[in-house]
């Protein structure tokens, strides 16, 4: 008889007791995978004082929350987190473990996977359950996690499978999994865990920590006006802000505009920035590199404004305006105000 399948786990990322959106997105995805595998959805909640997050996790679909509270887990540092997670993996043998592909997730997950001697796939954009035929080794696997990710600078999409012992570990990009509406009052089981953290894991000291919550909420925006290198200058980005303000949207940017120093990285859309899927995306002076397109192609409607009729962005757009953005944008503002 086959060994009983382990559960689907999500590492919950939090900052100051507020759960990161990506973790809730992953709980919803984990719920879907767990239902398919007929196992449970379980959350790993670590921090200094985070018990207040537990009900939220139930409401998004967690059956179990492993709650690990310890002052040495605040602020986040990799080594004690990796220790706690490894101990939990050894004890409970989950089938799948999901991390957000955030700065924290991308430094924590490999540390855990390396110690577990397990596979880890980075930056997944889709996850599915399917069977896998390893023709090279003549082995077949059932109900494995298909780990789908862009590679090669976004030029290919690869499906990866972990063929060693569970858990099957992945990091998942922010904003790509759909967050379902929470069910208030939904309950689960709380498991309080006393961590075994030793001096070995506390050697890295945080001497200074400066952070502010992002002022830009691109992920939640319904309308995004993005500027690229074709905007021409920092001063000219005012045009982008003007159009966004007129339409009630947020301002995005391509990597080229961020690298030029015209706008802050928080605004960057694309593979090294944020993945967005607004109702309307207006790309102004953006050529449309595959890395940028990867972060916005799911937008419902895409308008591209570019003076170069050969710009690749037009292949992704629903509406193509070949023209000078300095002329076109003011006309759009005027047309919208006169509606």
């Amino acid at each position: 008889m086959a060994e009983k399948l382990g559960n689907v786990w999500v590492f919950i990322e939090q900052e100051g007791g507020k759960i990161a959106d990506v973790s809730l997105e992953l709980v919803c995805k984990a719920r879907e995978l767990a239902d398919q595998l007929k196992v449970k959805t379980e959350a790993l909640l670590l921090g200094g004082n985070v018990a207040g997050c537990v009900d939220t996790l139930y409401s998004y679909g967690c059956d179990t929350v492993y709650l690990v509270e310890d002052e040495r887990l605040e602020p986040f540092t990799v080594l004690p987190y990796a220790r706690v997670i490894m101990d939990l993996i050894r004890e409970h043998k989950p089938n799948i473990l999901l991390f957000g592909a955030t700065l924290k997730g991308r430094e924590l997950a490999p540390r855990v996977a390396s110690e577990k001697l397990g596979g880890l796939t980075a930056d997944c954009t889709d996850l599915r359950i399917d069977d896998f035929e390893d023709k090279k080794n003549n082995k077949s696997y059932t109900n494995k996690l298909m780990q789908i990710r862009p590679a090669f600078g976004g030029n290919i999409i690869a499906t990866i499978v972990n063929t060693w012992d569970d858990p099957q570990m992945v990091t998942v990009r922010e904003g790509v999994m759909k967050m379902d509406a929470p069910v208030p009052g939904r309950k689960g089981k709380l498991v309080r865990v006393t961590p075994k953290i030793s001096d070995v894991e506390t050697v890295v000291k945080v001497l200074e920590r400066v952070r502010a919550d992002k002022e830009v909420d691109l992920k939640g925006a319904q309308i995004i006006v993005s500027g690229g290198y074709g905007v021409g200058s920092k001063a000219n980005f005012k045009l982008i802000y003007d159009l966004a303000e007129a339409l009630g949207g947020e301002v995005g940017a391509s990597r080229a505009a961020v690298d030029a120093g015209w706008i802050d990285h928080d605004h960057q859309v694309g593979q090294t920035g944020v993945t967005v899927r607004p109702r309307l995306y207006i790309a102004c002076g953006i050529s449309g590199s595959i890395q940028h397109v990867a972060g916005m192609k799911e937008s419902k409607k895409i308008i591209a404004i570019n003076s170069d009729p050969g710009a690749p962005i037009f292949s992704t757009a629903h509406y193509a305006i070949v023209g000078d953005l300095n002329v076109v944008i003011p006309q759009m503002i005027k047309a919208f105000k006169a509606k």
């Binding site: 490999p110 090279k136 090669f152 600078g153 070949v322 047309a335 919208f336």
Partner: protein, 298 residues
């Protein structure tokens, strides 16, 4: 006392600047047509190491795992200021995922001996995983500081570095030896003309052997003599295979990789049904009205 800083670098296909020549008629990328370059963030890691050399007098060793041709990024490191170079190359390393790669590089680090710091670029542009750095750190039981922007100071067996976090930065202190992954936060120095003149003759043993298919030269000199001469002049690039670095064959290359690729699909940039909107007042008016009437704008 001077520090030994080990920098891991990688030769990668240039996936970020894909010209028309590398596109197939089907709209996919012909990977073989991409030029091989020095992974950009590894140059930032090398720059950080060279800054430490300037400040503290460190010995900078650069190492890579790759095909024999990857010796080129090692030479480029020597041109910029590295002191020694190590190539790990072996057919048995092919097909390595990040776990097998980090195991191999950790064996390479042990072979090199006592190091105070290991620096890596945050990620390579062919895979973009950012996993190998933290995994090497775990294999060597070293603390890691990821996303480093600058080193504040090194001294008394500790390093203090500033690194990026979401929405800000942190200053972290870790005991040595430690591993740092470095982001695009400095300007890598250019290659130095004098060093190019010297190190353009730097060779790996297999490059020397390849240049002389007959082991015995007509003038009586042998490959061994030439290698000795290169070594005496600091021009020998060390070359190791998997057994030289003591790697367990079951943990490297394809057998040592838990992740398998099930399927690869090329992203096709096809022409979509973009509706052309004239850049005139009238064209734009019509577009805005269409978007208002279908509730995209409102």
């Amino acid at each position: 006392m001077s520090y030994t800083v080990l920098v891991f670098v990688k030769q990668v296909p240039d996936t970020q600047n894909i010209s028309g020549d590398a596109m197939t008629p089907e709209g996919t990328v012909n990977r073989a047509a991409l030029p091989a370059i020095f992974n950009p963030e590894d140059l930032n890691a090398l720059e950080l190491a060279l800054q430490l050399k300037d400040r503290y007098g460190a010995r900078v060793v650069v190492a890579t795992m790759g095909m024999p041709a990857a010796a080129e990024v090692l030479r480029q490191s020597l041109y910029r200021g590295a002191d020694e170079a190590v190539l790990v190359t072996d057919r048995a390393l092919a097909g390595a995922d990040t776990l097998a790669t980090s195991y191999t590089l950790s064996c390479c680090a042990k072979k090199i001996g006592k190091v105070d710091l290991i620096l890596c670029g945050r990620q390579a542009i062919d895979g973009d995983t950012a996993q190998v750095g933290p995994q090497i750190a775990e294999k060597l039981k070293m603390p890691q500081i990821c996303y480093v922007e600058e080193v504040v100071e090194v001294g008394n067996g500790r390093i203090v570095a500033r690194r990026a976090i979401d929405g800000g930065y942190e200053v972290l202190e870790a005991p040595l030896p430690a591993l740092l992954t470095v982001i695009d936060a400095n300007d890598p120095r250019p290659m130095n003309a004098k060093r190019i003149m010297k190190y353009k003759r730097a060779r790996t043993p297999s490059e020397v052997a390849k240049a002389h298919p007959n082991a015995n030269y007509t003038d009586g000199q042998t490959v061994d003599d030439e290698l000795k001469a290169l070594a005496a002049n600091g021009l020998l690039i060390h070359e190791y295979n998997a057994s030289d670095i003591g790697a367990d064959p079951s943990r490297i290359g394809f057998p040592g990789s838990p992740t398998k690729v099930k399927q690869v699909m090329s992203v096709v940039l096809t022409a979509s049904e973009a509706k052309s909107v004239p850049a005139t007042a009238e064209g734009i008016n019509l577009l805005i009205h269409e978007l208002i009437s279908d509730h995209t704008l409102g």
